[in-house]
């Protein structure tokens, strides 16, 4: 893999107009990645999902070079109907369209910052890979007091032109004071056997509100990793919703740093898996100051020989008195080959806190099925009703009603 990486790296930087210093930085990241390789189960954070093994098994040899010189045609048929929205379109990792048609132009700034590489606090090797190979990176700034009138949908589209490729993306968002953003990440893949490596960084200034919905619904054979870093100042709110379902493998990581008083973080997720899919959500909520709040709810429904893992950590440092942290994960295993692993973790250094976590996994409740069947439903209807109700609980946590309805329609949950 080492020769491949170095060759592809040479090709990649040739197409970029970078200063010597930037090349040095990228080179440093590359070396660091070569040194560490893909994460494997020997690393605590990857205990339940050995990415190295998964890539070897599903893709084999990856190539890291992507030709971004020619444009791709934007297929408008994938755009979401029935919801007026702003768009950012990535096709095969190349940014094809940024369109804020519905917003005041002077309130949103888009900065091309390909040259600036800021390090993530995440110390896994994938951030090195990302830094080494991202070709273009944008920073989207919402000006003070501006609230986006329509949601922004980022389309992550891949098509059959690419095969066994690694695609690296990164975006930075700055939400200035009193601004708010509703962001949907929509994954549309018609490609197979690629590895997508996505890094987002959000900086929330005072009173800002971020709502991020990640929707991976369409069946595909890709392997994905996504990392959200959310910095939260005073009175900020972040809401993250993850629907993890379509890809062969998907690991979502969310890291929230609650730095300002009265900031709060919500992370909710659904795993709805079948076949031999393997998905994971890992969250870290760092309560760093007084009076902060976090809430996490993850529910899984696992069919066939699918596998889901949830690693959630609540960290409370000694200054963060009056913290309120809550975490719950529930899983229904529908098949004898399905598997659910959880590691809900508390690390607490302050005494005046209220922190709890719960985790439960098991089969569908036979008594409930019996009850429904005795009311005239057949077995499959009863089962569906119960699963719907189980998942609806998480969808109902979505605070934006427009998007809540969109997501309900997408996953076919009826009320």
């Amino acid at each position: 893999m080492k020769e491949q990486l170095q060759k592809d790296f040479e090709n990649t930087i040739r197409n970029l107009s970078l200063s010597q210093k930037d090349i040095e930085i990228k080179k440093f990241s590359l070396d660091s990645f070569i040194n560490k390789g893909f994460p494997n189960r020997r690393e605590e954070d990857w205990k339940f999902s050995d990415l190295n093994q998964i890539i070897n098994k599903n893709i084999g040899e990856l190539s890291f070079y992507n030709d971004y010189t020619s444009t791709n045609k934007v297929d408008t048929s994938v755009f979401v109907d029935g919801l007026v929205h702003n768009k950012v379109v990535f096709i095969n990792g190349r940014i094809e369209k940024i369109d804020f048609d519905y917003e005041k132009k002077d309130q949103i700034e888009i900065i091309d910052q390909s040259e600036i590489i800021n390090k993530f606090e995440n110390n896994n090797s994938l951030s090195d890979l990302n830094s080494a190979f991202t070709n273009k990176s944008f920073k989207i700034v919402l000006k003070k007091g501006y609230q986006l009138s329509k949601p922004l949908i980022i389309y992550h589209t891949t098509n059959s032109k690419i095969w066994s490729k690694n695609i690296n993306l990164r975006l930075d968002f700055e939400l200035q004071e009193d601004s708010s953003l509703r962001l949907i990440d929509l994954f549309n893949d018609t490609s197979e056997k690629n590895f997508l490596n996505i890094f987002y960084n959000f900086d929330l200034k005072e009173n800002a509100i971020l709502k991020n919905y990640k929707i991976d619904k369409i069946e595909n054979k890709n392997i994905k990793y996504s990392f959200n870093n959310i910095e939260q100042n005073k009175n900020t709110i972040s809401e993250t919703f993850i629907l993890s379902s379509g890809s062969n493998f998907f690991k979502n990581e969310v890291n929230c740093n609650l730095k300002g008083e009265h900031s709060s973080a919500f992370v909710n997720g659904i795993f709805s898996l079948d076949k031999n899919k393997h998905h994971e959500i890992r969250t870290t909520v760092n309560h760093l100051t007084e009076n902060t709040k976090s809430y996490q709810l993850i529910k899984s429904v696992l069919e066939d020989s699918s596998k889901a893992a949830y690693q959630g950590k609540i960290f409370v440092n000694s200054d963060a008195q009056k913290t309120d942290g809550y975490q719950l994960s529930k899983a229904i295993l529908l098949n004898k080959d399905s598997e659910f692993n959880a590691k809900p973790e508390l690390e607490i250094y302050a005494d005046d806190v209220k922190c709890s976590h719960g985790s439960a996994s098991g089969s569908l409740n036979e008594d409930s099925i019996f009850y429904l069947m005795s009311r005239g439903l057949n077995y499959n209807q009863a089962r569906e009703l119960l699963i719907n109700g189980f998942l609806l609980d998480v969808v109902e946590k979505i605070t934006d009603s427009e998007i809540k309805n969109l997501i309900k329609n997408m996953i076919g949950i009826k009320e």
Binding site: S338, E339, A342, D351, V353, C355, S361
Partner: protein
């Protein structure tokens, strides 16, 4: 006079902190094949036992010390330790208690474990382990009448080699992990218990461990076998003198329960925890594992952990037999600079297996406490259940309480439920108690005892009273 007063003050904190001035036989310092041969030789062991040890030592040389645990400690120089230390008077085995060194008897009396006939604790048979050897075992004759074997393991190796050969290392294999393998190579003594088929052991069996010599590691080995349909309740207690250096205690405990058998294993661990500034104290790195080998068997661990500078252990149950049950009840208290990383593993292999984990952690002062546990339901363990509850109580914001459970479910017919909470003692409760005339410290003691009640109830009577007192003492000075 002043010095005397200081000594008394010191003793108030940890009343078992005295040391006995007694002449010792020691193995040469360091860890090598000669030392292992020395130990094996002094114990007059058969060749197969020596081979077992040497095999373990071979393996040990290839192993790396683990470092994933939360409490870090300075590197231990394994060559700078004595691996065998025994009171000189034990060189020629005394035939009865009357021949035992009076100093030893005196020591155990001071610890509250009288070994002499007239003062023995009623209904409890005791095996007293002093540094590397077992010095006395009480009530043996009565037990023999029922066919129960309760003796030092070194004696069992000679008298019951078939049983030892069959079960030693069957639960904790030679190659298990760093400290367990070290123990397999250099273990010195410990208890051996065999309960024959259908026998319900009429009294509590207990071992009392005492580390006395300085610079010595204690590596004892306990093996308990409950044959079909039998029952035994086993208690373990431990203390050590106060010394400025850290001492290593790396024991292996293996339990085997055959069809319909039940083993109840209780520990009150009160090793010297170090002084207020975290100097000295025992490193308690123990491997405890029980195998529910037969159908309908049951193993239950109860532990009260108040001592040691660092406690690092996970008493586990392997639920291999169908319908077997594993239980784990734990109270862990850390104060001052103590650190603990403890919990359990429940490995469900058989059908209809059940496990229950109740863990209560209390941290005060500058201490750090971690519950780390594993519940693993394999794909063959249909219809299994686990319930886990871990609660932590924090006192002050200089200490830490952490929960790291690993939950793996590979069977759709099995259920796992896990709950954990972290909180502090509520002001209302404290206020209520103080209003009724209790001092702040008494009030905390009362509330903490209530918090721990679920676990304390699991202990045999004599131990429960002792443990309740211990909980109070351990938290002294942590209020206000």
């Amino acid at each position: 006079m002043e010095n005397r007063q200081k000594e008394i003050d010191k003793l108030k904190d940890y009343k078992y902190g005295f040391s006995t001035d007694i002449e010792n036989t020691r193995a040469p310092k360091g860890l090598n094949e000669d030392v292992i041969k020395f130990i094996s030789n002094i114990k007059k062991e058969p060749q197969w036992m020596l081979d077992f040890r040497l095999k373990a030592f071979e393996r040990f040389k290839q192993l790396k010390e683990p470092d994933w645990q939360k409490p870090k400690y300075p590197k231990i120089d394994y060559q700078d330790l004595y691996y065998y230390s025994a009171p000189k008077s034990m060189d020629d085995k005394p035939k009865s208690l009357d021949e035992l060194d009076p100093k030893l008897l005196e020591t155990y009396k001071k610890l509250g474990i009288p070994l002499q006939e007239q003062a023995r604790l009623n209904g409890i048979a005791v095996d007293a382990v002093f540094d590397s050897v077992s010095v006395a075992t009480t009530f043996r004759e009565e037990l023999i009448k029922q066919g129960i074997i309760f003796c030092p393991i070194s004696e069992a190796i000679q008298k019951h080699p078939d049983l030892v050969k069959k079960y030693l290392g069957s639960v904790i294999p030679l190659t298990d992990h760093f400290f367990a393998t070290l123990n397999s190579a250099v273990f010195t003594d410990g208890s051996f218990v065999y309960i024959p088929e259908g026998v319900r052991c009429p009294m509590e069996l207990s071992t009392y461990f005492r580390i006395n010599a300085s610079n010595t590691g204690q590596f004892e080995r306990t093996l308990i076998i409950a044959d079909k349909g039998s029952y035994v309740s086993y208690l373990e207690g431990c203390t050590a003198p106060m010394r400025d250096e850290n001492q290593l205690h790396a024991a292996n405990v293996e339990l085997v329960a055959l069809d319909d058998a039940e083993i109840k294993y209780s520990t009150v661990q009160n090793w010297y925890p170090g002084d207020k500034d975290g100097k000295g104290g025992i490193y308690n790195f123990v491997t405890k594992r029980g195998l529910c080998k037969g159908k309908n068997s049951k193993i239950s661990w109860t532990q009260v952990e108040t001592g040691s500078a660092i406690t690092w252990k996970y008493p586990s149950c392997i639920l291999k037999g169908d319908n077997s049950v594993g239980e784990f009840y734990s109270i862990a208290i850390t104060n001052n600079h103590q650190k603990a990383d403890t919990g359990t593993k429940m490995i469900h292999l058989g059908k209809n297996t059940k496990s229950k984990i109740i863990s209560k952690g209390i941290s005060a002062g500058f201490s750090d406490m971690t519950y780390r546990g594993l519940v693993d339901i394999s794909s063959k363990a249909s219809n299994s259940n686990n319930y886990t509850q871990c609660d932590s109580l924090l006192m002050g914001n200089k200490c830490g309480a952490h929960t790291v459970p690993y939950i793996k479910n590979k069977n759709s017919e099995s259920n796992i439920a896990h709950e954990a909470t972290t909180s502090k003692i509520s002001e209302e409760q404290l206020h209520y108690c103080q209003q009724r005339g209790l001092s702040a410290e008494e009030a905390v003691g009362l509330i903490v005892n209530g918090f721990c009640k679920e676990v304390l109830q699991q202990l045999p009577m004599e131990f429960a009273v002792e443990a309740q007192k211990l909980v109070g003492i351990s938290l002294e000075g942590s209020v206000g």
